[in-house]
Every structure is written in C-alpha cells, then in structure tokens.
Symmetry: C2
Subunit: 296 residues, 2 copies
C-alpha cells in the first residue's frame, strides 16, 4: 500500500486558510485590498509568441533604461519577429537571437542602437526597495524592487538585479558593453547568481515560463542547437501597448511596498502550515514569489 501522497499534504497546506489557520500565500493574496495591486505598464511589457503559446516579459527600465528602450524599439520595428530560440542549456538558460548570427545575412537593428553602455548596476539612491532580512550568499543585502528580485550594497550605494529563475538578460560578447538587447536569455535552472553584475538583466518573465523550460536541451556546446531544423521559431515579440485593445494582456503585481507583501514575506519565511516540521525562518531572494495576476 502506498503511503498518503505528497499531493494530499501540499493540497491541504496551500488551501485557503480558515480564520484560525496560519496565513498562506493563497489566503494573503485573496485578502489583499485592491490598492495593494499595481498595474504592469503595457509599455514595458513584451508579448512573445511561440507556436506553443504566449510568454510575457516585464522590462526593468529602472535598472536598465538604455536596454529597455532599445528592446522596445526593436519590438516596435518587428525586429524579433521570425527569429528563433537557438540555445537551451540544461539548468541554465534559454536564449534567442538571429540564426544568421552577425554575418552579412544578419537582420538590421534599424533605428535601434548598436552600442549601449553596460547596465550592470545603478545607484541605490532613489530606488524603492523592500529588503529581506536574511543573509545571502552573494550580496550584502537582497530584496524586491517593483517586480524584480534585486540586491544592494550599503557601502558602495549601488543596486542591481539578481539572476533568479525567470529573469531575462541581454547576451553579450567579451566586451562588457557589447549587448544591445537583440539577443535575450531567460534563466531556467537554479539561479546562476555568479552572473550578477556581469551581464545586463533587462526584465522578468511574468507568465509562460512553462513554455520555455520544457524546450529540448541543445546538444551542442553551451546548449546550442546543432541543426537549424532544431531552432524553435519565435513568431513575434510585440510591445503590449501596441497590440489591439482586445489582445492586450492586463496584469497587476502585488506592490512590494504594501502591507500584503510584508505578510507574504513573513508567511514564506515561517512556514506555519501543518506539513512543515522545521519552521525554516529564512527566505532567499530567488525563493521569494512576486505575485502577478490578471487584472480583475
């Protein structure tokens, strides 16, 4: 006879809590007032279409203003439409770009810039940031800034985005300032935090990670597909604000500076559901959910 399944236990643990039960993520979100939710700007939201469905990416202009602007320009020009996913490296990244590489047949960047500054970090002054209280292996302090996992250093007064699962970055060559946003990658494995401050992060996948994470792993060096017929077609990447009203996704995320977000942090630090034996009492930045929902 099989022991009671993990399903059972986790279903019980995540069900909406009644009055006496400890708060769960589901109960906290259900109780969050409308004011604790904030619309995601459709002008900073990319809609990526694969044959398997839609992937939504929120850009992070507060951290990478030049890259975000360039990517928006590329999307508006239709630059990405018809490109392909070229690389899927197990426990690392999915990456798309121009199958023609940088040869003569490569697509033109048009009115987008072909040279951008590296945007690895920024001043921490002026950045809204909800700090997490627990230690981190890589940074003096971590937290959430708007829709993004981030870190900051009180000594240098710099802040940066962190390479958590679902974060999106701009591929570059050996020169720090060689990324343009034409090639983008998404983290699909354990968060490779050693890349923090080594490459420009530009946003986060807020819907559709399951369309990317299941792609067959490339068998070439670094997970590149070895044959053109293995490339995964990228139908298009459009800016949500340019889509017809009826097709435009409308999303909201839980404000990182809300009381509900603070409740969520504490509920994730101390796991008070019956299933947990050890209360944990800690949270790591890449394990902290940043809830996003369809606008009601």
């Amino acid at each position: 006879m099989l022991r009671p399944t993990l399903l059972l236990a986790l279903t019980l643990a995540s069900s909406i809590a009644h009055a006496a039960a400890p708060p769960t993520m589901a109960s906290i979100l259900a109780e969050a007032p409308a004011a604790d939710w904030q619309p995601i700007d459709p002008d900073q939201l990319l809609v990526l279409q694969l044959d398997s469905g839609r992937v939504l990416i929120e850009l992070a202009p507060a951290f990478a203003p030049e890259h975000a602007a360039n990517i928006r320009k590329l999307a508006q020009q239709g630059y990405y439409d018809g490109l392909a996913i070229l690389r899927v490296q197990e426990n690392y990244v999915v990456q798309w770009g121009d199958p023609a590489g940088d040869g003569d047949a490569a697509r033109s960047l048009g009115k987008a810039k072909s040279k951008l500054p590296a945007e690895f970090d920024r001043p921490s002054a002026g950045l809204s940031f909800t700090a997490l209280s627990d230690p981190d292996s890589y940074a003096p302090q971590t937290g959430i800034s708007d829709g993004f996992p981030a870190a900051r250093d009180p000594a240098s007064e710099r802040a940066w985005l962190t390479h958590c699962y679902a974060m999106v970055g701009a591929g570059r060559g050996n020169a720090a300032d060689s990324s343009t946003g034409a090639e983008l990658y998404v983290v699909i494995g354990h968060s490779p935090r050693h890349l923090d401050r080594n490459i420009t992060l530009v946003g986060r996948v807020v819907e559709g990670m399951d369309k990317l994470s299941v792609l067959p792993r490339g068998t070439g060096a670094l997970g590149f597909y070895e044959k053109p017929e293995q490339h995964v077609p990228l139908r298009s990447i459009k800016l949500a604000s340019t889509l017809p009203e009826s097709e435009r996704p409308r999303l909201e995320r839980l404000r990182h500076d809300s009381a509900s977000f603070q409740r969520l942090i504490e509920a994730r630090r101390f796991r008070r559901e019956d299933w947990f034996v050890h209360p944990v009492g800690r949270i790591e930045v890449c394990n902290m959910p940043i809830p996003v929902r369809a606008a009601p």
Copy 2:
C-alpha cells in the same frame, strides 16, 4: 548587425586553459589525478528507464540509510517497473509513484517496509564534509559530502542534505514519518531550500536531468497531470549492481576531499575568465558543481 554572441564569449571562457590562463572547471578536471576520482558504488546507483532515455540516481545512505535500503529493496523487487511520472510542477519538482494511489488497486510494497523513520538530519560527527566558506541564506554552514550538497549546524552538531537542483526526495503525507521511498521526487527548478529538514532527501540525479526537466508541466493542482494518458511511463528502476555487466553504468565522481575539488571551489568562487567583469568571490552550495564522469 548583431553583436558578438554570448556563445563566442562563453566558448572562449570555458575552453581548456593554456599555461598562463586561469584554471577553469574543464582544465581542473582534465588535470585531476586518477586518485582524485572515486567510483560510485553500483549498489547505491539507480538506473531509471524512460521512453526518452536513462536517468541515473546515486543514493545517499550516509544521510538516509533506512530510505536507501528500502528503495534498494523496492528496486530489486521490480516495484517501480511500470509505474509513472504523475506530477511535473513548473520550477519545483517531477514526481513518480503508483497511478493507483493508495487505494485497493495499489501495488504491494512486498518485502520493503511500509513504515520508516523520518531521516531529515543526522549527527555531523563522523561525516566527511568539505565546507564552503561563504554565507548561506538557510544554514549556518554548507558544503559537499561525498556526492551531495549538504549543510550542518555547529551548535546542534547535526548535518543534512540540501534541496538543490537534481536532488531526489521521498514524498510524504502530513506525518513526518509517512515516506517509504515508493514515491520519489526530483527538484527541477530554483532550489526549494525551505524543504530542507522537512522531508527526507535520498539521493541525487547524476545523469539524465534533461530527460526530467523537459517534461510537460501538469495542469492540475500542484502540477499533477489531470488525465491518465498524460502520465509518463516509468519503464523500470533497477539497481545498477543487479544489471548484466555489459549494461552496468560505471561512474566516478570527483572526491570532495581532494586537492582538485579545492581548486574547483576556488575557480568557481573567483571567476577569472576574461568574460567576467566582477570577480564574484562567492559560491552558494547549490551552484557548486559535483563532477561525475564515466569511468575511464
């Protein structure tokens, strides 16, 4: 024109280093003497067969002796053969078990035990452990013990396995001691370290993660497949030591207590390849590779 690709940069960074170049993982492994490699015991190695190929799991009897023994007994009896993967939850786990659940039609555990103690931690005394020097969000100290990422607490003198990508655990119900090893799960996303010391980890996937991580995500609660026809057949799980000589995988892993492993830790902490701008200077236990190779 497209900027030089990330491919180029990373290929350069990971190529075998010449004398003056900083050591990379590839160069350290190439130079490691035979004595720094240790055979993986075929009596503690599970060979899981899916239609898509083979997955190898090393059991961790030093941490979960009762579970490892029970799982070995189940494998020897053919208990797992013909079961199925029932659950694939995005950024979390793949889990297999008996599609009949624990009802009357459930498969018998035979000579395996139906009741085991929880094996969430163990005394740190007597455990060979290579400590990492950097802080961790969840544990006072982390490190590597034989083939496994682990943690320990000098105050309580306890040690435990950590929920890193590719770790394998035994599903349980609400009772801490309700796992038997009949249902197993594998971590496929950012490491859910809050599960540490809350459920018994039994081993690690040492080959074939890409067979598990690409499986379609289940659309039911907690990533369970909603229809039986979605279940992914598990042809068999055999103990490597019971396979005919010609089919038996022969693996070695880099000894965690070797000089080569120390070099690898430092090479992963300080990324001295040309591509890196920020030297990092830190490593987190779930980002520390534990190299495994086919025996030469």
